[in-house]
Structures are given as C-alpha cells and as structure tokens.
Amino acid sequence: MDLTYTATEHEFRAEVRDWLAANTPTEVLPPIYTAAGVAAHRVWERTMFDAGYSALHWPREHGGGGAGLIEQAIFGEEYLRAGAPMRLNRLALGLAGPTVIQFGTDEQRRQWLPAMLSCDDLWCQGFSEPEAGSDLAGLRTRAERDGDDFVLNGQKTWTSMSAFANWMFAMVRSDPDSSRHRSITFIMVPMDTPGIELRPIRQLHGEPGFAEVFFTDVRVSATNVIGEVGEGWSVAMATLGFERGTGLGDHVRFARDVADLVELARRAGVADDPVVRDEIAARWVEVQQFRRHMQRTATRLAAGGTIGPEASMTKLFWSEMEARIFETALKILGPLAELADDAPDSLADRGFHRRYWHSRASRIFAGTSEVQRNIISERVLGLPREPRWTSS
C-alpha cells in the first residue's frame, strides 16, 4: 500500500496538467452530434495527437504513448479536472484500435491505426441490434460470402457517431446454420459503402447521438475481417474487455458530481438540512469506494494481472452509483428539479437535465445491471446458470 506517487509520476502529472492548462479550449465546444462539434473536437484531437497524448494506453510501436496504468490513471484524472472536451474517437481508441492491435494482421494495422490516432478516421460500433440487446449473441445481421466479399443485410441500432463515422466495427452472422456463437464474424465496414442507410434516434432527453443503421446488400471485402471468419464472438468479447479496462480516473468525474451536489444544496437553501447532508455523505462514501476500487484495479493490471468477469462489478457499481447521485440531486432540487437546463430559475448547471436522464440510461447501456448481476453470480460466485427455456 502506497498512496504516494513516484517523482517520475509527479513530473508526469505536472507536465500533463501544464499542457492541459495551456491547451484546453477555454470555451465549451459544440456537441459532437453536430457537424460543427465534430470539426471542433477534431481540432482538439489533432492538438492532443501532436502532443503525443491521443492514445497513451496504446503500445509505442503502434503510435501510442506506451504509458503504464498509473500514468493512464493520472492522465485520466487530470483530463477530467481540466474539464477538457469529451474524446471524439473513443470507440476507435478504446475498442477498435486495441482489437486491431491484438487480432489484426500487420497490413490491417497499417491500414487503420494511424488514422485512428490522428482522428482522420472516425469509428462507430455495430454490435447492438433491435432483437439483440442484452442478448448480444442473438444478432441477425447476415453476411453472405460472395467471392472476395461479404454481402451484409440487416440492421444495427444504438450506433453512436454513425452520422460522422467513416468506419464501423461490426459483428455479423456469417453462417446461419452454425451455433449462436460459432457463426459470428467481426468485420470492418466502410460507412460510405452503398446500401447503408441511417435513421437517427432521438434520445429521451431530446438529444440526438444514436442511429439505426440499415444494411441492404452492403458489399464489404473479406480482407476487412478481423481474426477468423466464424470466430468473431471471441474477438468481440475481447473488444468489450478493453472497454471494461477503461475508466481509470473516472472517480474524478463522480467526485465532481458529488461536489456539485454540495453546491446545489447550497443554492437550493438546504445545506443545513440533515436529511440532505446524510444523503450527500452517502454518495461521497460510494465515490470513495469506487475510487479505491479503481486504484486497486490499476495496481493489479500494472502488476500484470487481468480483468475477467470482475469487470461486471465495476460497471454495476458505477452505474448504480451514478443513478443514485442524480436521484439525490433531484431530491435536493425538489420542485425545481423538473426545470429544463435553460430555465431562468434552474439551479442546476452543466447540463444537469441531460446528466440526470443519462444516469438512468447508464444502467441499461454497455450491459444492463441485470446482465452484470448474471455475470457476477454465475462467473464470479459460481452459482448455477439459468435453466434453458422451453416454451410452455
């Protein structure tokens, strides 16, 4: 146990902090679901890229920063503290890139990795389907082999950034006769291929950001397959594993949310209400639990450990914690909670309305709380699986 940082780590933190202080845009960038926002965020990503910060967690040989877990956590903390813009190409840098690094051929690496780093390519993810939400392996998008190509027909949904992305990494069913998991292929799809149509999904809180993506006879070269045909399930599971490894430094975001609760209570005139204080303190404790858990995870990973099904515990904890934080916020605001963010008397700021509803969605996206509890009980605790369903 050592809560201090080495001199090198202190230096690194200072360097990152200075750089962010000097370079972070002073104005809030337009949202990334607008063309202007994408352009502005591209500029920022280019700045990050030029400074060598675009993918600290990637190996140096592939253009990354080759940073250790502790440095990554430090960077994450400072990035959030600086209030720097949200990352534009999260799906490329966090998921598609690591997948290509681990499973791709050298040629594939050359083809895709550099443009991910520079943000010349924007990527979206094609996993979810209307009939395959929690049940990812229930996906139906077909990919039929035709010469050197696969021909895709079907539909993806909950695809973020799809309006601006030029690549999608997708799971498709390449062999309808094989078992649920054995017939899935992981493939990279150029988004300008004929036959792709988008239908935007507006979210409950009013913002766009997602789309349904329809494939009609979309022809994609077989050289775009990652790993073996029919082995896409294990590639995709590894991809999702990368996602679960991220979040180092995220406690800074939640700690800031709790600090916001304190501030909200002051503005709402209930800072002296012991019921409110009790609830805010409970939220603070939870954030500390998350913080120390994440630091322990980083320590383990830095020592060469891996994350397996325990990743579900991280997801379940933070998503439930986040929902509780914003439920507490609602209670603090009381009758003012329903005000839109731009209402004159709104006490909330920084997109509270969006953040509240988004916290409700956190329990659904990236594996529902139910899916996480299944994994924890079956794969961590070793309890028996659900019985097979026989329609009665």
Binding site: R202, A337, A343, I364
Partner: protein
C-alpha cells in the same frame, strides 16, 4: 366502514378511462408538448363534465366531491393528460371553500363550461403550472389565498423537461379585491387538496407505467425467451405493482377526508401528506423499473414511455416533496396534535 368506491365512482372511472383513452392517445400528449395548450381537448373535457366535476350543479357542474375528483385524476394520470385538469379542479374546490358567493359565481360556471382555465400556486413554491394558459390563478401569497385574473399577473416562463407542464413564475399585485381568505386552516386545506390531487394523478401514472411494462416484457424476447419470464424482471414489476396498489386506498381515504373534514383538520392533513408520500414513492418505484424493463427502447424520444417518466418525476416532487411531507408528519408525530398516533 366502507373503504371502497361507490358504484357511481366506479362508473365515473370506467367512463373516464374509455373517454380519455379514446380522446387523449399518446399522440395527442405529444402534440401538446410541441404546440402548447390544447383548447379542443379542454372543450371536450368540459362537454363530458370533467372540468366541472367538483363544481356545484347550480354553477353548471356535476357537484361531486374530492374523492370523485381523485378517481378522475387517476385516469388523467393514466393517459398523461396534458392539460391542467388537476389545477383547475383544485382552484374550483378552493373557490368553493374560501371564496365569496360572488367570487364563486364569477368563476365556477366558466370553469365548468371550459371557458376558464385555472391554476394554483402553493405557499412557498414559486412555480405555477399552466400559468401562460390560465385565466384565473389561485395563489397563496402574503399569508392568504388570492384569486387573481391573468391580466394582473406577470409571468416568467420556466421551461420544464415535460414541455406540457408549461411552468412559469408569477409576480402579482395582490390586494383586498383579490383576497379569498386569510384563514390558515383554509390555506392548509388548499395545500392538502393539491397534494392529494397530485397523489391521485401519480397513482394513475404509476399504474400506467406498470401496465405498459408488463405488456412489453411479456412480448420482448431475449436469450430465446420473453424477458418477462426472468425473475429479475418479474420481481421489479411485482414490487412496482405492490407499491401502486398500496398507495391507492390511502389516496382515496385522504381525498375523502380532506373533503368531509373541517378545514385544517390535522387528521386530514396527515392523511394528505401520507398519500402524497405513498404515491410519490410508488411512482418512483414504477418509474425506475419501467425504464429498466424497457431497456434502450424506453430511452428514445419516439417511444411514448418518456411522457409518463417525465410527468411522474415532475409530480413526484411538485405540491410538496415527499421529504417535506414526511417532515410535516414527523412534526405531528413528535409534537403535534396526536392525529398521527
């Protein structure tokens, strides 16, 4: 001892359910979000007598009471009715309770006929629902109750996440000519009525959320089976249903008591607070579980669920937060009249 609706009240509920589900489908709620107050819907409500449900027959209403209104408001909650029926009815009851014969005569016939949109503003609360659409505002100000015409009010619109709530803060010049009463007991009953009316509406909202979720999980399949066959989903909905069913009789009783008791009766006030707490809690439970049971589709603008999720969340905290009502109950438990013992 009879804690059940009368046959007449059951008929009112059935009639309201049929009428509202036909006349106020989700598409119409959606339209109100974009286009504001729906005068045609308002007229329709007047025609079937719902706007005058608590207005005496001599003023053109049905002459029914608080419990009948609660029954009607539960049905309004079920369809997420986007017009201020709740507020107009509470305003009417308050005019009856505290207004002079002249004030009643001036406003009640118009309310029953659908010519007057009324709304209410509670003590210590700045937001007024439907204020931009109201002709009459019944406001708690300066320690008393006032009936104020719209043209004496200055509004600051306050957009809400449920656009059909059409909130505003209101500044107004009160005077002897606007005064209804300074009787604190009547002021208390005004707030109690609003709390109970909100509770009844919340029960309807929560019941709808449960019903929609049950229907959805019965047909939505994942892992080769309806997700409604998973215990985790089933228990969420069992708990939500339980909460709703145990909030409803308390809400009825509170409505009844507020109506038949003397103004400011502490037992009725405690019942009103309890009803608001129970219904808010039921709504919160149903709200959480409904979205979770729907999954991503429930998080889309296109899906109708959001209209109940937002209305429910708004009403949960309006007309007295659950915490405020609990604090009031605790005051009575520890230092009060003993009506809560």
């Amino acid at each position: 001892m009879d804690v059940e609706l009368s046959d007449q009240q059951r008929e009112l509920a059935a009639g309201a359910r049929e009428f509202l589900s036909e006349q106020c489908p989700p598409s119409r709620v959606r339209t109100a979000w974009d286009e504001g107050h729906d005068p045609r819907l308002w007229s329709q409500l007047a025609e079937v007598g719902f706007l005058g449900v608590v207005v005496p027959e001599e003023h053109g209403g049905l002459g029914l009471g608080d419990l009948d209104l609660a029954v009607l408001l539960e049905e309004a909650g079920r369809v997420a009715l986007p017009v201020p029926l709740l507020e107009t009815a509470v305003a009417a009851l308050t005019l009856l309770d505290a207004g002079s014969p002249e004030q009643c005569k001036r406003w009640l016939p118009g309310i029953a006929a659908g010519e007057v949109v009324a709304t209410i503003g509670l003590p210590g609360q700045s937001l007024v629902v439907a204020a931009p659409d109201a002709d009459l505002l019944v406001l708690a100000r300066d320690g008393g109750l006032h009936a104020v015409e719209a043209d004496r009010c200055e509004l600051t619109p306050q957009p809400a996440f449920d656009a059909s709530r059409r909130l505003a803060t209101v500044s107004v010049d009160t005077g002897p000519d606007t005064s209804l009463t300074d009787d604190p007991a009547k002021l208390a009953r005004f707030a109690d009525r609003a709390a109970v009316a909100a509770a009844a509406t919340l029960v309807g909202i929560a019941a709808h959320l449960v019903r929609e979720s049950v229907a959805y999980v019965a047909q939505r399949r994942q892992f080769g089976r309806p997700i409604g066959s998973f215990q985790a989903i089933k228990y969420r909905l069992a708990d939500a249903h339980l909460a709703v069913e145990f909030a409803r009789p308390l809400t009825w009783v509170a409505a009844h008591q507020v109506g038949v008791s003397d103004a400011g009766d502490p037992e009725a006030s405690a019942a009103a607070s309890a009803a608001k707490v129970a219904a808010s809690t039921a709504q919160a439970t149903a709200n959480e579980h409904a979205l979770q049971c729907h999954g991503g589709i429930g998080f889309t603008w296109e899906h109708d669920l959001q209209m109940w999720l937002k209305r429910g969340k708004a009403l949960e905290l309006a007309y007295g937060t659950p915490a405020a009502h609990r604090a009031r109950i605790a005051d009575d438990l520890f230092t009060g009249t003993g009506s809560t013992r």
